[in-house]
């Protein structure tokens, strides 16, 4: 009950407090930044889940790109509603990840990491080469999400007719993020989470107590890729465009860094990590040419002195680890 209260309070701050503060200060540009953080943290949560079963995933950019393209193609070429393409993009990514994951999840450590690293590049090249993705010029002028009506009542208004589509996207992204982290929290704290952790620590021992390790691995990877696809699909809807370079290897690496920075041992690590990394990079913009140098030095220092992530600084978090 206390946890539910804390979650409700957090949501209230994000959905009421933040828009109020933005309206008061007139910093409308923050909507785009915060929406990005929410969406990137969803994709990072997926990476975190693969870490949780003991795999280093540097390929989430691939699924974000696939998700973005699937949603774009379904909206533009098939005229589906964006709201329908959102879960479809996630499911498509999950299906693709099952096919890819079945062979590559047998690899461990650096070998798995290397294959996933290549994956992002493969998807980028595919997007350049396939006729349906329109090559390097990408897909542009994708219509904004339409309305959702049920029995004649408008539940979600048409985004194109809104005066503040930024605010609408912000609310959608925060709700999706809440859903994602709520689901992840439940997973980690249920027996499924314990089984995932057993996988992370010793796959042979896990299979000797009757855990279907191959299935659990693929399942976790599919959920992870689903989240990547959903994140990519909303991104595409906001920018109303998608290019082969929308998600690159750099993004894949960043998704992983977000998890490291927030803390691999904490469900909310990827959320905090994404927030700090995104805003940290923006704040360092003032330093001009030294931006990358300072940023990298800080990251190295953080990993050296805080190997368990930023959340390990909180005494409360330590008690209720993960």
């Amino acid at each position: 009950m206390r946890k539910l209260g804390a979650a409700a309070a957090g949501l209230a701050v994000l959905l009421v407090g933040v828009p109020w503060a933005i309206a008061a200060t007139g910093r409308d540009d923050l909507y785009y930044t915060l929406t990005s953080v929410a969406l990137l943290s969803i994709a990072s949560a997926g990476v975190w889940l693969t870490f949780f079963i003991g795999r280093i995933n540097i390929g989430q950019g691939a699924y974000a790109l696939i998700g973005g393209y699937v949603a774009a193609i379904l909206v533009v070429d098939y005229g589906l509603s964006f709201w329908l393409t959102l879960p479809l993009a996630g499911l498509f990514c999950a299906a693709a990840s099952i096919l890819i994951g079945l062979p590559i999840l047998r690899l461990r450590g650096v070998y798995f990491a290397m294959v996933t690293l290549v994956l992002t590049e493969v998807v980028r090249l595919l997007a350049l080469a396939l006729p349906i993705t329109n090559g390097a010029s990408g897909m542009v002028n994708i219509p904004l999400p339409g309305a959702i009506r049920l029995f004649g009542i408008t539940i979600v208004p048409d985004f194109a007719k809104l005066r503040h589509p930024h605010l609408a996207f912000y609310i959608v992204s925060v709700l999706l993020m809440a859903l994602c982290f709520g689901g992840l929290y439940r997973l980690v704290h249920s027996r499924v989470g314990k089984l995932c952790r057993s996988l992370q620590q010793n796959e042979e021992l896990a299979s000797s107590i009757g855990v279907d390790i191959a299935w659990l691995r693929v399942l976790a990877y599919a959920v992870s890729s689903f989240l990547g696809g959903v994140g990519g699909a909303v991104f595409e809807a906001i920018s109303q465009s998608i290019y082969p370079s929308s998600f690159t290897v750099t993004d894949s690496v960043n998704f992983m860094l977000n998890c490291f920075l927030g803390g691999l041992g904490y469900v909310f690590g990827p959320m905090i990590g994404t927030f700090v990394l995104y805003f940290g990079w923006d704040l360092l913009f003032q330093t001009g040419e030294y931006q990358l140098l300072i940023y990298s030095t800080l990251l190295i220092a953080l990993m050296l002195f805080l190997p368990n992530g930023l959340l390990s600084l909180l005494p409360v978090a330590r008690q209720s680890e993960t």
Partner: protein, 143 residues
Amino acid sequence: MTDLLKVSGLTKRFGGLIAVNDVSFAVQEGEIVSIIGPNGAGKSTVFKLVSSFLKPSVGEVRLRGERISGLAPHIVARQGVVRTFQETTVFKGMTVRDNVIIAHHLRARAGLPGFYLGSSAARRDEVEFARSADEILEFLGLG
């Protein structure tokens, strides 16, 4: 009387090395059988083959007449052939109690979706595992 476990013509080659060469034996119900031999004789490999962690190059393992070699290890474990490890092998990142609780997985009646959503079968399993784990730890003086 049929054999509970029957190992016939078991052979395992790793490249050019023959680790296990034509091993056959049978175990009756209630019987305790041990395998002895010097270092490098292939005892561990035999156990890995019986518990299906390795696939035999030649030969097969049958449990109650059913062939189990070639099946995934977790399926063989669910049928009752469970191995232990040579060196103490535990999940180091978990508490002792969590280790004992998770080792009850073979008795789980609920599936993964059930455990995720907290179905009544899953909740019964959890209560049962926790009680049984406490009993075991109490018995061992670790409670």
